[in-house]
């Protein structure tokens, strides 16, 4: 059951037709989000137009967590099933996830500057996101160090699992730590009394759009990774063949 399901997941990620469909769907959903964010949704009563960045900021944060969840799940599958395609998927998801985490931090800072009066505040949610960024930046750095060996891939998988397990502990510790120290006075959009329906609708469209963008990028990166893997395999085979041919020639020459 699991095997056929995972075969289907990997086949879907590699299917060119699905990829084209995902690109078109992502583009349309992004256009809808932009329309919603800039035209349909009303300006925020307190924050004004600045608040509109929220419609891409929050969906990107969701995608970042989704991506790192996929890293952990694929890493577990790799350790269990020992198929390199899971390793490729984990790596691809970590790369795309790190890009989204970077964008979350940047869009947050752009919002924070006019609203909080500062680019950065050591608030629990921001700090957790920053630590998340450092965790997966470390993960990808290690991936580039360990090279292509299988033992390196296993090590990366272990790091991928432990990193994700760490996230809730990080969040809890940072929350406790932050409440001990003076906090900046902030306006938190998520905790405002209620979100008008139009705003909520646009944000949901944004979540769908951003997830589609993520899936598209993930599929593209995954396809590159799989092609890489195949190329390496072919090279290895060609090398083995050449070695064999040379040995035979030498043997023939020696009689």
């Amino acid at each position: 059951m699991i095997e056929s399901l995972s075969d289907r997941i990997h086949a879907a990620l590699l299917s060119p037709r699905l990829r084209q469909a995902a690109i078109v769907a992502a583009a349309l959903a992004m256009l809808a989000t932009l329309f919603g964010a800039f035209i349909y949704a009303p300006a925020d009563a307190i924050e004004g137009d600045v608040q509109r960045i929220f419609y891409i900021h929050v969906p990107m944060a969701w995608v970042a967590y989704l991506a790192f969840g996929i890293v952990a799940a694929s890493s577990l599958m790799f350790l269990w099933r020992k198929q390199s395609r899971w390793d490729v998927l984990a790596r691809s998801s970590a790369e795309v996830g790190l890009i989204f985490t970077t964008l979350v931090l940047l869009t947050g800072a752009i919002w924070g500057r006019p609203i909080w009066g500062t680019w950065w505040a050591w608030d629990a949610r921001l700090t957790t996101t920053l630590i998340l960024w450092v965790l997966y930046a470390g993960y990808l750095t290690i991936r580039s160090f360990v090279g292509e060996e299988e033992s390196g891939a296993r090590f990366a998988a272990v790091v991928g699992v432990l990193g994700f397990v760490d996230v809730p502990i990080v969040h809890m510790s940072v929350t406790w730590w932050r409440t001990l120290h003076p906090q900046p006075i902030v306006v938190r959009p998520l905790e405002s009394p209620s979100l008008p329906n139009e705003m909520l609708a646009v944000m949901l469209v944004g979540v769908v759009a951003m997830t589609l963008v993520f899936v598209t990028l993930l599929a593209l990166r995954y396809a590159v990774g799989i092609a890489d893997e195949r190329l390496r395999l072919r090279r290895r085979r060609a090398y083995a063949r050449a070695l064999l041919a040379t040995t035979r020639t030498l043997e023939a020459a020696n009689g």
Binding site: V158, I169, M172
Partner: protein, 224 residues
């Protein structure tokens, strides 16, 4: 996971014997940590009233940075002449091997603390010998060593492990660092009691990472 006590004590005994004879980890790490404390004092002036707030953080940072050197060194010894490979040839439970390695690292790090902590207390006239401080040190060391042991063994064959080890260990242990620094500060009386159950957080961290590392160690070192 079925803990084989005979294997556990055999590895523990072997490694401690090597450490006692070669003195390759404890002495340099303790010296380095003391040196860090010294350098911190020039930057933060821990000896004056204002700097006392950062004393617990300085103590832990000195210890953590020293420990990173120790893990790297321990696994370099493991790699020389394929010692780790030879040990893994034995048909024994991998989790036991990990737990033994962890115990060795914890004992050596506690040895570092035996030198570092009283010296720290003397230099800055801080009450380091309180039960709360000692318990925090012991529990924090277990959590730290669980990550360090696992990641260092995964990197035994890596060329750039001196850089790579901190890159992985430090971000992952941020929650532990927060908890132990706050708990130490409260136990020393440097900062007021926050009422937060920091020990629960440290214990949770220890439990999660010791169990997970023991479970994952097998797939990490397999046929390397």
């Amino acid at each position: 996971m079925n803990l084989d006590l005979r294997v556990f004590t055999a590895i523990l005994w072997k490694d401690l014997l090597i450490e006692v004879r070669a003195k390759e980890v404890l002495a340099p790490v303790a010296t380095f940590a003391l040196l860090m404390v010294l350098v911190f004092n020039f930057g933060f002036e821990i000896d004056t009233g204002r700097g006392r707030d950062v004393a617990p953080a300085a103590l832990w940072l000195a210890f953590i940075l020293g420990g990173l050197l120790g893990f790297g060194r321990a696994f370099q010894l493991e790699r020389e002449q394929g010692a780790l490979d030879a040990m893994l040839l034995a048909p024994v439970d991998r989790s036991t091997v990990y737990l033994a390695k962890l115990a060795v690292n914890v004992i050596i790090l506690l040895g570092v603390e035996v030198i570092l902590v009283p010296a720290f207390g003397l230099l800055f006239d801080l009450p380091v010998l309180r039960p709360g401080v000692l318990l925090t040190l012991a529990l924090g060391t277990i959590g730290y060593a669980s990550l360090g042991t696992l990641y260092a063994s995964g990197m035994a064959n890596l060329r750039s492990r001196e850089v790579a080890l901190p890159l992985l260990v430090l971000p992952a242990m941020i929650p532990l660092v927060i908890a132990v620094v706050e708990a130490t500060a409260e136990a020393m009386g440097v900062s007021p009691d926050s009422g937060r159950p920091w020990w629960a957080l440290i214990l949770a961290f220890d439990a999660v990472f010791v169990v997970l590392s023991a479970a994952l160690f097998g797939s990490l070192v397999k046929d390397t």
